[in-house]
């Protein structure tokens, strides 16, 4: 399992639009990808779950990936967060 932390810089947090993009990105990999924020944790491939987290600006999230392509998944997700959030 691999993981990384990221501090959200987007003013609006992870709302519908970025959540959709995030889920789309996560869907590219076969690994199990989790999005963790505080005590809550959801599967990054489920849009409603990601949106339901209500993650706001300046919160720190942890992304974990576990599976065959976990290295690629972590790289991809890292790039996605830096670019969009």
């Amino acid at each position: 399992m691999k993981n990384f932390n990221y501090k959200i810089t987007d003013d609006l947090g992870i709302h519908a639009r970025p959540a959709g993009l995030l889920v789309k990105e996560a869907g590219k990999y076969s690994s199990k990808i989790q999005l963790i924020c505080g005590e809550k944790s959801v599967e990054a491939k489920k849009l409603l779950g990601v949106m339901g987290m209500g993650i706001k600006c300046k919160q720190t999230v942890t992304i974990t990936a576990e599976g065959e392509d976990e290295a690629a998944a972590i790289e991809g997700m890292k790039a996605f967060f830096q670019e969009n959030l």
């Binding site: 609006l12 947090g13 709302h15 519908a16 639009r17 959540a19 959709g20 993009l21 889920v23 789309k24 489920k46 849009l47 409603l48 779950g49 949106m51 339901g52 209500g54 706001k56």
Partner: protein, 636 residues
């Protein structure tokens, strides 16, 4: 008939590899579902690019061409050109065959064979019922030409039923349809029918319960004809065509192509028809004798038990044509005793059947069943129960069983009361006078018949009201598709429904967030589109996610970029994780205030786990009220 989809239909047929590459065709709500011999012959890319084809999906051994909501019209056009048969139910039952018990498989075959005839069956049943009404009230005489012509219009279909069923059975068992009809026709050929009224050649099984007169022979083998002949029978033709389809397959393999077209049917007919008469005739006559024999014996043992048994199984016997084993008892008793009480139990079942159909009529929301239940109930009142049995209760199985139970209880009451019938007159409600002794005017039997019928009807009605459910799976198994359960999503916000692609945010318009529609709200109220659990609630309250009990995830996102309002103008009435009922208010928003701040209030309603569904269909361009049907989801 030419249809505007003819051109599209031709393109589709051509690109699935031509007519000869198609094993079967059916359709569901939005797709043509082909079974192809060789999928590699299909030009998937060409089809995908064809106007009028949304896309092509291959799954579960099916080659699915997604068309849209007008698929029935396209299906018809494709079918007219390709002649693939009416498909839908056919394929389903062959797929199911392996998993089913023989009884259930037989029921499915019988109802499948009847399915294409249901409209005409209901119509002719109605004509029969109305004619019975006219006769009873002496509007018409049953010897008048008018009556006889109209009666032939109704009874022609019933009498020659084996021919029509021969056609459908042939389609089902995948053989030449005209060969199937020819077998049906031979069963009803006038000189064959006339045989059983001639002089008996010999009598077989003399002195036993199975004593049968033999009127003719085939190559020296005695041919036994069932007591009532083959007119109006159901099961014999299905068996005959089934066997013939095997024979046809065999000949098809070994006969050279040049002469196939006429030699195969020739050999199939000359073998299968004598075989039918030689095999099915004796089985049917022995079984019906056995039925008659046991009915008399059970009656001697206990009239109540006989009533229950006759009442319970009468309709089953009718389906197999075995009730003809009982009818002779009736006539024998009329002539020797002047009355019959052995068979009184058969009176209640048709009423029970009608009551069951009436209950279904009350409870069903399925338009197709309803439109069939009305004529089925009306003709049932007049004793013509075929539309009810073959169109509704038998395919659904449980209602048929209920009608048997209710019929059995009615039969038991008549057995208990020792009801006597004095003649075989009218059917259904016109059957009551049969229970009046015309010599003594004793109507006590009729009173008991009324009690028995009332009880049977109440039981049948109540049991059906309690247990009947529009079974989505089963319904779609007959009409649409077995793979999926359909889930309807209702409109959460009053307003005009537009295509998602028209939304000015490409996260939505490209379908990246999921498939669905958008609504231009005319009111600032969002209600729950279905019973669901609130599974996502953005802190600003502008978007709400729901998960239905079947797992559909719905996102209602009010306005574009409204996340920037940070909750202003939004009031949320529910909490995360709360279970909500369809129609419950979820959130309110101030439409004008949002607009005046420069935001669009256009609200996408999308299914975020689109990949869980085989199909999502909707129509746009209409203004819908809250809770009108918005989308239909087909579960994978």
């Amino acid at each position: 008939m030419a249809s505007k989809y003819d051109a599209l239909a031709r393109i589709i047929i051509q690109n699935v590899g031509g007519k000869s590459n198609v094993i079967s065709l059916s359709h569901c709500i939005t797709r043509l579902r082909f079974k192809l011999k060789d999928v590699s012959k299909a030009n998937t890319e060409v089809l995908k690019r064809t106007d009028g084809v949304v896309t092509v999906i291959q799954s579960g051994g099916q080659y699915q061409v997604v068309i849209g909501n007008h698929v029935p019209d396209v299906f018809e056009a494709v079918n007219n050109i390709g002649g693939f048969g009416t498909g839908a139910s056919e394929e389903v039952s062959t797929e199911h065959k392996e998993k089913q018990s023989p009884g259930a498989a037989l029921i499915d075959i019988i109802s499948g064979v009847f399915q294409p005839t249901l409209g005409v069956l209901a119509a002719t049943g109605m004509i029969k019922g109305l004619l019975a009404l006219f006769i009873f009230f002496k509007v018409m005489s049953n010897t008048s030409g008018t009556y006889q012509l109209l009666y032939s219009a109704a009874d022609g279909f019933f009498y020659f039923l084996p021919i029509f069923l021969g056609l459908n059975a042939a389609k089902k068992f995948n053989m030449n349809q005209f060969t199937g009809m020819a077998i049906g026709a031979s069963l009803l050929y006038p000189s064959i029918v006339a045989l059983s009224s001639g002089k008996a050649l010999i009598t077989v099984f003399t002195g036993t319960a199975f004593q049968t007169n033999v009127y003719t022979e085939f190559l020296g083998i005695p041919v036994l004809l069932p007591a009532g002949g083959y007119a109006s029978t159901v099961v014999p033709i299905i068996f005959a065509v089934f066997i013939a389809s095997k024979i046809e397959k065999f000949w098809k393999k070994i006969i050279p192509d040049v002469v196939k077209t006429f030699v195969v049917p020739m050999l199939t007919l000359t073998i299968s028809i004598p075989l039918t008469f030689l095999v099915i005739g004796p089985i049917a006559s022995i079984l019906s004798s056995a039925v008659g024999f046991s009915a008399t014996n059970v009656y001697n043992l206990s009239p109540i038990l006989a009533g229950i048994i006759v009442g319970t199984f009468w309709q089953v016997l009718v389906i197999f044509g075995l009730h003809w084993g009982l009818v002779p008892i009736l006539f024998m008793n009329y002539s020797s005793l002047g009355y019959d009480s052995v068979l009184s139990g058969f009176f209640a079942p048709s009423f029970a059947q009608t009551a069951v159909v009436l209950a279904i009529l009350f409870k069903t929301k399925d338009k197709k069943i309803r439109s069939l239940a009305i004529p089925a109930a009306i003709s049932g009142i007049f004793g013509v129960t075929e539309p009810a049995i073959y169109g509704i209760t038998l395919p659904k199985k449980k209602p048929f069983i209920i009608s048997c139970i209710a019929g059995g209880i009615g039969g038991g009451i008549m057995g208990l009361a020792g009801c006597k019938s004095y003649m075989l007159g009218g059917l259904g409600i016109f059957g009551f006078p049969n229970y009046i002794n015309s010599k003594t005017n004793d109507a006590s039997s009729m009173l008991w018949a009324i009690v028995a019928v009332a009880v049977a009807m109440i039981i049948g009605f109540v049991l059906t009201m309690i247990t009947y459910k529009d079974d989505v799976v089963e319904e779609s198994a007959v009409v649409h598709d077995i793979a999926g359960k359909e889930e309807i999503i209702y409109n959460p916000i009053k307003g005009e429904v537009i295509a998602l692609s028209l939304v000015e945010d490409d996260a939505f318009s490209t379908g990246a967030l999921g498939t669905g529609v958008a609504i231009k709200p005319t009111e600032g109220v969002v209600v729950a589109p279905v019973d669901a659990v609130v599974s996502a609630l953005f802190p600003t309250g502008h978007a709400i996610g729901l998960t239905t009990e079947h797992g559909a995830e719905i996102l209602i996102h009010v306005g574009m970029n409204t996340v920037k309002l940070n909750g202003k103008h939004f009031t949320c009435n529910v909490k995360m994780g709360e279970a909500v009922k369809k129609g419950q208010i979820l959130q309110l928003f101030d439409r004008d205030a949002i607009k005046s701040e420069g935001y669009s209030t256009i609200t996408p309603v999308i299914i975020t786990n689109t990949d869980k569904f085989a199909d999502i269909s909707y129509s746009t361009g209409k203004t819908l009220n809250q809770q009108d049907e918005l989308m239909s989801l087909l579960h994978k």
